[in-house]
């Protein structure tokens, strides 16, 4: 089975793709922190922040439909949180949107702010993972002093998640092939538990064999890799542009649109 979900566009070639993973990671980290820490804000300001990741996606040739699809997939979790706001905060407020005046509650304002921030930060995150190969990202994280054990764990997760998904699909297919009638919730739950157990046991077996493969190649507990990362002028220019963008929004745009 062929998988290309997470890193579907990361193997393309563009100026953004060629940037150092560390710089992109740091920019997205700062951008996300800034957006999350914004006080309750108008949609116009959030829309200005969205211009950054939007421009990166367009420049890197990532289809916007791909980004929208992934945002929609994750959105139910945030929607539950956001939609609960209007229920407990009904303080009336008036929102001015150019010539339009809108009377609403503080709860709805919070709801829109949460959703807006979610969409903008997700756009940035998708821009990062769609323009950076996962191994480059891991190498960058290691250079940025993220605990080595965590980087190794992420590497294994990325390597083996596809196999786990494959195995889960095979099990589901095997079940579907023999499930010729409605089995009822209780039996379905029992089957799901059995399949999860099977996946767990296979994963443990697999881990044992991977351990043998590592030891066969001299692994002694120290993780050694060759880093190919290199900061170039283009990386510094990208960081400078991103910093100017955030500073301009903070000092020039936000005071006007407040």
């Amino acid at each position: 089975m062929h998988h290309a979900y997470i890193d579907k566009f990361a193997y393309q070639d563009s100026a953004i793709h060629r940037l150092d993973g560390r710089i992109k990671f740091l920019v997205v980290l700062v951008f996300t922190a800034v957006v999350i820490s914004l006080p309750r804000t108008s949609p116009a300001i959030l829309a200005c922040y969205a211009v950054g990741p939007f421009a990166v996606l367009v420049w890197a040739g990532i289809p916007l439909g791909f980004a929208v699809k992934h945002i929609l997939v994750i959105s139910p979790f945030v929607l539950v949180l956001a939609l609960s706001c209007p229920l407990y905060d009904k303080t009336p407020v008036t929102v001015l949107f150019g010539p339009v005046t809108w009377r609403t509650s503080l709860g709805w304002m919070r709801c829109f702010t949460i959703l807006g921030k979610f969409v903008v930060t997700m756009l940035a995150l998708i821009a990062l993972v769609s323009t950076t190969r996962f191994n480059d990202l891991l190498a960058g994280l290691q250079k940025l002093a993220l605990p080595r054990l965590l980087v190794i764990q992420l590497g294994f997760l990325y390597r083996y998640i596809f196999l786990l998904i494959d195995r889960a699909h095979h099990l589901l297919r095997a079940k579907a092939g023999r499930k010729l009638r409605n089995l009822g919730v209780k039996t379905e739950l029992r089957l799901a538990a059995a399949m999860l157990g099977s996946l767990l046991i296979r994963s443990i077996d697999s881990a044992g064999r991977v351990n043998i493969a590592m030891q066969a190649r001299g692994f002694d507990g120290n993780w050694r890799t060759i880093s190919k990362l290199q900061i170039r002028p283009a990386d510094l220019l990208f960081a400078a542009v991103a910093a100017c963008f955030l500073l301009a929004l903070h000092f020039l745009i936000r005071p006007v649109l407040r």
Binding site: D7, L138, R159, L163, I212, M214, R217, R224, I226
Partner: protein, 241 residues
Amino acid sequence: MPKAIELINFSYTYADGTPALSDITLSIEHGQKAALIGPNGAGKSTLLLAMAGFVKGSGKVLVDGLEINRKNLKQVRTMLGACLENPDDQLFMPTLFDDVAFGPLNMGVGAEQVKARVAEALKTVGLADMADKAPHHLSAGQKRAAAIATILSMSPKIITLDEPDGSLDPRNRRNLIKLLSNLPQTLIIATCNMNFAAALADRAVLLDKGRIVADGCAQDILWDSTLMPEHGLEVPAQPKA
């Protein structure tokens, strides 16, 4: 000159008490291409694991004259490259380059030399332009070749391969036979596929129920129409050379 592999009265029993290998005495010369054949559950994979020091039983296992013990395991694994049955177990790094570089780096080889070894190993298996690929983006045949490259980059004297032809289509199997035939190393190949064994091996060791039941020239053993069916195997489809 020491033998490439030597096992003297080696026996191993699983934790549940089932005997896996019984009184195995076997020696393989340098440069030989030996096929370990036998039905499922005969003990072929366990024997390969014993040769790489992953299975500890009674008796002796010597690699290039060096008896395996805890202290010299690293040295043994530098001389003997073990390629596991499932390439997905063998390829555990995010990219092919990292996977092929993993062994040499652990051996203490310098970065520049590692890069050269990786390039050479990938070229040998025909994956020279795939160094940056993630293993899950490779086909079954490419994964098998990549798994072999992870061993070749360590420049071992001896290579063990567990069912290397498993899940390969005929074209990829032919490519693998060509690749393995051209390797100068001592090869020990565990397989249930007699056509594959016949195409590669100059020596055959038949295992059944954890014991060696026949050992000799591949031509004599593989085409023995009495011996092979007795042990759940079949003679190769191609005529005897």
